[in-house]
């Protein structure tokens, strides 16, 4: 990824460099249709060359259209898929004419029709990768118990205490001894899923999965559904007819409580998204600063900053996974609490 910064150094004007860095950061935090690892720019022609591998594009537009993202050629090519023409423009696929014409309205917003994009993007690919990794990791932990007389062996020794931590520090205190078992599968999967994807985001692969609103929305939606579908009478009573307050206050509290049902998962969604996205932007801006300073003092100072922010981001990766899991567990706890107070 640093290759594009290196060739960016060749640019004459600082403004262009700043613009390029801004665009680069924007591009990085977005999802992408192909898995590019880095890109170089030809000095003479000024053309960008991408290194990476293409991913399948799946479009639903009068039937399913399927082709590899290499055909789109980073927006430079118009793809003809069974009679329709598609073009990649700023990370999104639009339906165009055979020339690849993009039309705008007065505010500069693209007016072209958009097909339903179900592509296996870089983020989907990363999610698949992490899912396979998790499946392998935890089934091997489960197997190692059988082979090694109930004692974890190998990498499982590292993850077993974390599984225990989630059970003993998150699930049991938040949900309670009686009900925590049915939520354990979700909480454990959730924690490791977010944590691993956060860490993958910090790797030089440069994916930004948990900093994508669609991903955090999906996770928060599942928490929301589980909370409300497993909720008992006490939970609904606390929402619509709050016990222990004067009668005239009860109808006033109901809409607030009902709003809270939606605000809780919404805050989960925004918290994870904003933290990871902000972390990525700060980190990449500081890396960009190295190339803007172009002198020993400023650049090395930026390098030190990058180093420390990276360490903080590793901590944030764990912390955000922990917070998401803990709050989900707390909401489940509200849903199943007994009427004993």
């Amino acid at each position: 990824m640093s290759a594009s910064f290196l060739d960016a150094k060749e640019e004459e004007k600082e403004l262009t460099l700043q613009e390029e860095i801004t665009e680069y950061i924007y591009h990085h935090v977005q999802d992408s249709h192909d898995f590019s690892l880095f890109s170089t720019k030809d000095k003479e022609t000024g053309k960008k060359k991408y290194y990476g591998f293409p991913l399948p594009v799946i479009l639903i537009d009068d039937g399913v259209k399927f082709f590899m993202s290499s055909k789109l050629d980073h927006g430079k090519n118009v793809v003809n898929a069974s009679g329709k023409y598609y073009k990649l423009y700023h990370g999104k696929i639009y339906e165009t004419n055979s020339e690849g014409y993009i039309s705008y309205d007065e505010e500069g917003i693209v007016t072209n029709a958009m097909p339903l994009d179900m592509s296996i993007t870089k983020s989907v690919f990363s999610i698949l990768l992490i899912s396979v990794l998790m499946f392998w990791l935890f089934t091997s932990l489960a197997k190692s118990y059988k082979q090694n007389n109930q004692i974890a062996s190998g990498i499982g020794r590292f993850f077993e205490p974390i599984v225990l931590l989630i059970r003993d520090e998150i699930a049991i205190p938040s949900i309670g001894e009686h009900h925590y078992k049915k939520y354990m599968s979700f909480l454990l999967t959730l924690f490791f899923f977010i944590w691993f994807l956060n860490l993958l985001g910090l790797s030089p692969l440069g994916v930004n999965v948990t900093g994508n609103i669609a991903v955090t929305f999906g996770l928060a939606l599942i928490t929301f559904l589980i909370t409300n579908l497993t909720a008992n009478k006490t939970y609904w009573k606390h929402i619509f007819w709050m016990p222990g307050v004067p009668v005239w206050l009860k109808p006033l509290l109901a809409p607030i409580e009902l709003l809270g049902v939606f605000i809780k998962p919404f805050s989960l969604m925004i918290r994870l998204y904003a933290n990871i996205l902000a972390g990525h932007i700060v980190l990449y801006s500081l890396i960009g600063l190295i190339f803007i300073f172009k002198n020993l003092v400023g650049s090395s100072l930026s390098l030190v900053l990058v180093f420390f922010i990276s360490i903080i981001e590793v901590l944030v990766a764990l912390l955000q996974a922990y917070i998401f899991t803990l709050l989900s567990a707390l909401y489940f706890g509200f849903a199943v609490q007994e009427d004993d107070h």
Binding site: M118, T121, L141, Q150, T189, A214, F217, G218
Partner: protein
């Protein structure tokens, strides 16, 4: 907010939710359930082992105390037995001594008595003999009375000499 909505990728949302939910169910069956079951089982066995170890320790302690008690009892009993044996030994010796003394005294008394008897019988015999002798002598003297005094005297002397308590 508008930007957030416009950037929302329904494709990514679909795949992520599908993969995530599938992952939850797969992991539940193949990983979380066996892992949590094993951990629970292990915790239970650790708890049980600790409890049984504690119990065994308690039992051993009580056993030890009992052993100590038995040992003490045995020791005091043996002490008593030894003392008794000593006592009875001493008594036996005392008794033997006194018996011996008594016996010796008896023997002595008996001896003395028999000596006395012997002596008495001897004396009696002497007395008898003296009497016989006297009678004998007297008869002899009487026979020799006609002789002179000198002869008389000699004769008596001679007789005495002959009958010198033979």
């Amino acid at each position: 907010m508008e930007k957030l909505i416009s950037e929302f990728s329904s494709g990514l949302f679909f795949w992520q939710t599908l993969i995530f939910v599938t992952l939850i169910f797969l992991l539940r069956k193949f990983a979380w359930k066996p892992i949590l079951d094993t951990i629970n089982e292990r915790e239970k066995s650790i708890r049980d082992s600790l409890n049984s170890a504690k119990e065994a320790k308690k039992e051993m302690e009580s056993l030890q105390a009992e052993n100590k008690k038995i040992l003490q009892e045995a020791r005091s009993e043996s002490d008593a037995m030894i003392n008794q044996a000593k006592q009875s030994g001493k008594e036996l010796v005392e008794k033997a001594k006194s018996d011996a003394r008594l016996e010796a005294e008896n023997i002595l008394v008996q001896a003395r008595t028999s000596i006395e008897n012997e002596k008495r019988s001897a004396m009696n015999e002497i007395k008898n003999q003296v009497a016989d002798l006297s009678i004998d002598i007297a008869s002899k003297v009487l026979e020799q009375e006609l002789d002179d005094d000198k002869n008389h005297q000699d004769y008596i002397n001679k007789l005495l000499k002959e009958k010198k308590f033979d």
